[in-house]
């Protein structure tokens, strides 16, 4: 991948191969689509990229829905991250990202679970201005990334998790984001109607 450093490639490779290996070795413990984990996260962008020379990231919020897949876990997440301009002549910026994630999960102890995986998605950047609109106020681009998470809680009910994701947005000048999150989640059985649809 042009422009990507050796370190980043190694990081991606390590996360992907480890996650896949763990999943394959462990096998699938839960039936596909049998449970649904809903979580809300507070997020922060810790990246140092050309983007951050123009905009300062503010705390964001994400919601995520996770379910056991045929192998590992599949998630659908929506992440809202506001940015404020560094220069006064810049416009306010908001990023809305939708991602499809796949994770391998391994329960380390009764209360602790580790997850690692990959994600692909679409980032939409929206500029905010009070002025009369004379230009395109919305731009969007593809993204991919890797993530790791530590989840504290039993296999059912409430849980708390800490996670970090490294995302790359494929704009002409690539954007690299490091997103840290703290999340609260709740695990329920998938309603039968929803399971019918998912299966």
């Amino acid at each position: 991948m042009p422009g990507r450093s050796v370190g980043q490639r190694c990081l991606c490779l390590i996360v992907i191969s480890t996650a896949t290996a763990v999943s394959l070795l462990q096998g699938q413990s839960a039936e596909p689509f049998s449970t649904l984990e809903l979580s809300v996260s507070a997020t922060g962008d810790l990246g140092h990229d050309p983007l951050h020379r123009h905009w300062r990231p503010e705390p964001g919020v994400a919601v995520r829905m996770t379910t056991p897949f045929y192998l590992g876990l599949a998630s659908l997440a929506v992440h809202r991250m506001p940015y404020t301009p560094v220069q006064p002549d810049q416009l306010d910026l908001g990023a809305l990202t939708a991602t499809l994630e796949w994770n391998a999960a391994r329960r380390i102890s009764g209360w602790l679970e580790g997850r690692a995986g990959v994600q692909v998605g679409h980032s939409t950047f929206k500029f905010h201005t009070q002025q009369e609109r004379t230009f395109i106020l919305e731009e969007s681009e593809l993204l991919s990334g890797v993530q790791v998470a530590l989840l504290l809680g039993r296999a059912s009910g409430w849980n708390l998790s800490l996670s970090a994701a490294h995302q790359r947005v494929y704009t002409s000048t690539p954007i690299r984001l490091i997103v840290a999150s703290i999340s609260a989640g709740y695990l329920v059985s998938t309603p039968s109607w929803l399971r019918t649809i998912l299966e």
Binding site: M1, P2, P50, L51, H54, W55, Y70, L71, Y83, Q90, L91, L93, A95, L100, V120, H122, S123, F125, F127, F135, I136, E139, S140, E141, L142, V169, Y170, T171, S172, T173, I175, T196, I197, L198, E199
Partner: protein, 629 residues
């Protein structure tokens, strides 16, 4: 002890071995590539035009809208190909007229890709329904609703990487890049065992904003969307011992399109209408009859909305009427056929108001033979009568210029079979054909030596070497060129497929060609297409409702000028392509819903199909289809 049986088959099937995709059933003389619906879906083909990427041979496009498939190694627009018919497109037995100055506007075909059940590609000269498709044929078969009511809907959207993103108001801003879609299509139908009726409508949209195109063709409109939309109706009925199909479709294409014959992009509005009937019925005794009749009309006008710089100048009306009847009768182990094809093609330049047309009548004789271990066909003797007429706007004076020419195509094949538990053959054939002198005179001969062996059930490998020689008279536009274009072409092809389980399908094919003792112009034209191509696919369905696909397309660089224009710098050469696609399909709701996520060209390798063409960067496409009930 290995028991060998050797058979000699003399066959008139003017086809070549197809080494892309699935090798044919054992003993099939007409070697063709078949793309099933499942393969089309897994490859992410979401427009009819995208079939061209996967038909084998060499495909070229500049803007992703007008495609050209070239099985004979000569790109559309190149001098040796001028005046020659394009690859024939046949839908449900009905010939289409989708060519616009060398480019095939496949998306204006009267069907949506979602209606297509399978695609059969014959990558070489073939006689079909009495007509000679001298540069090959792509045949589409549509699905038929057979059990009560059915409604389907599809939506598709994609985006290329490389947008300016949030940097658009900073010094790091760059021009916008292409997006794909939104493509929408819907179908409603009803069918029983005896008849069926379907109505479909589609709307496709694609932006043509590649900076290379904008700079080269001075198309300064950044939001240069090209749209295609239109309805189609299909009626089918079982009667007279066969099935009959009536197909009507209308489409309109607005926006930029590259004209291969002119070497430029123009912003045009095209109206396209097709009405045709086709089918088979039983004749007396074992005789069967295959027929088709169709009429296609097209209007091409400069787009009235486009800017002055980008507006086109091409304007004409065109109509194409075609009918054929083919009678087949088994005689012993042979099948004999005779066909009559009549077509009329007329063009009226909008500015002058006159029509010019051409009609031809062709007679075809063919006999085929099938045995336990082999199948072939024999004898083609074709006499073509042809005349041209022009009619002035006021005088309506017609001029009839009858001409006649003979077309010959033949195939000689030697078949050897190894023991019953395995399968292998060696096939040698040679063919030649000449076309009407009213066209630029073109003679062509090719020899091929092929070998295929089945290793295990579901696994086979195939290799073939070819030598072809082409001689082409200059077109009217190049009468001053020094003499004929002529040249030889050496080729090597290999393919393998393996289906170790119903859930896993692996295909790989390789093709290589090189000019051999060719004239300078012919050599240049051949070099305008890549010399090597490898196409591989792995389709894996780990569970019933999930399918993962890996597709690889590797192509060598090409350097020659398709237009014979030495002023085009070599820096514009088409780079080598290393395209890798990943696709995931998931079915939901008892398979009523199919969602697909495609990552195309995931390594962002330079992906260009023409030296003047746009570069298709890494892109992601998301699609969904709903089927009820």
């Amino acid at each position: 002890m290995i028991r060998r049986r050797t058979r000699c088959i003399t066959a008139a099937s003017a086809t070549v071995l197809s080494l892309a995709g699935a090798p044919d059933a054992e003993g099939q003389v007409l070697s063709r590539t078949v793309l099933t619906r499942a393969e089309l879906q897994a490859r992410g083909v979401h427009r009819v035009s995208q079939i061209a990427q996967w038909v084998g041979g060499w495909s070229s496009t500049v803007e992703g809208i007008a495609w050209n498939a070239s099985f004979d190694g000569i790109m559309a627009g190149a001098e040796p190909a001028r005046g020659l018919p394009p690859v024939e497109i046949v839908i449900d037995g009905q010939r289409m007229d989708l060519d616009l100055l060398g480019g095939l506007l496949l998306d204006t075909a009267p069907v949506a890709i979602q209606q297509v059940d399978s695609v059969v590609i014959t990558p070489g000269p073939v006689l079909a329904g009495g007509a000679m498709a001298s540069r090959g044929e792509v045949r589409l078969y549509t699905r038929t609703v057979t059990q009560g009511p059915r409604a389907e809907g599809w939506a598709r959207f994609g985006s290329e990487t490389g947008d300016p993103g949030p940097y658009q108001f900073t010094p790091l801003t760059t021009p916008n890049v292409d997006r794909i879609g939104l493509d929408l299509a819907a179908l409603a139908g009803y069918g029983t065992g005896g008849w069926n009726a379907e109505v479909a409508v589609r709307s496709l949209e694609q932006s043509v904003t590649d900076p290379r195109l904008i700079q080269r063709f001075n198309t300064k409109e950044l939001q240069a969307y090209t749209t295609v939309s239109g309805p189609s109706v299909k009626l089918g009925v079982e009667a007279l011992g066969g099935r009959h199909t009536l197909l009507w479709g209308q489409s309109r294409q607005d926006g930029f399109v590259y004209l291969f014959g002119r070497g430029r992009m123009e912003r045009l509005t095209l109206g396209h209408a097709h009405l045709g009937a086709s089918g088979t019925f039983s004749g007396p005794g074992p005789t069967s009859v295959v027929y088709h009749a169709s009429r296609t009309g097209r209007t091409v006008l400069p787009d009235s909305i486009g800017s002055v710089q980008a507006r086109g100048t091409l304007r004409h009306e065109r109509r194409f009427s075609n009918g054929s009847v083919e009678v087949l009768r088994p005689i012993g182990s042979w099948t004999a056929s005779v066909a009559l094809d009549v077509n009329e093609r007329a063009v009226r330049p909008v500015s002058s108001g006159g029509w010019r047309g051409r009609a031809h009548v062709a007679l075809q004789g063919e006999a085929s033979r099938a045995t336990e271990s082999s199948r072939g066909s024999f004898a083609v003797s074709m006499v073509r009568g042809e005349g041209g007429a022009t009619a002035g706007r006021l005088t309506s004076v017609a001029e009839w210029r009858p001409q006649a020419a003979q077309t010959f195509a033949g195939r000689v094949s030697v078949w050897q079979q190894l023991p019953e538990e395995s399968s292998a053959w060696i096939d040698r054939w040679v063919r030649g054909d000449t076309l009407s002198p009213s066209l630029p005179r073109r003679s062509f001969a090719r020899g091929e030596l092929g070998f295929r062996r089945a290793l295990t059930p579901g696994t086979a490998v195939e290799v073939a070497g070819t030598y072809g020689y082409m001689r082409s008279g200059p077109s009217d536009s190049a009468r001053t060129a020094a003499g004929d274009l002529r040249g030889g072409r050496l080729g090597f092809r290999a393919a393998a497929h393996a289906d170790p389980s119903p859930r896993l399908h692996v295909r790989v094919s390789y093709e290589s060609v090189a000019p051999f003792h060719a004239s300078e112009d012919m050599h240049d034209a051949m070099r305008s297409l890549p010399h090597q191509r490898l196409d591989g696919s792995v389709l894996y369905a780990p569970v019933e409702n999930l399918r993962l696909s890996l597709l690889v397309l590797l192509q060598g660089a090409s350097t020659g000028s398709p237009l014979g224009n030495p002023a085009v710098p070599d820096s514009d050469a088409t780079p080598a392509m290393r395209r890798v696609d990943l696709s995931m399909e998931k079915w939901f709701w008892r398979r009523h819903v199919r969602a697909q996520l495609i990552g195309a060209n995931i390594f962002n390798s330079p992906e260009r199909y023409h030296r003047f063409g746009a570069q298709f960067d890494r892109r992601m496409i998301l699609g969904a289809a709903v089927t009820l009930p």
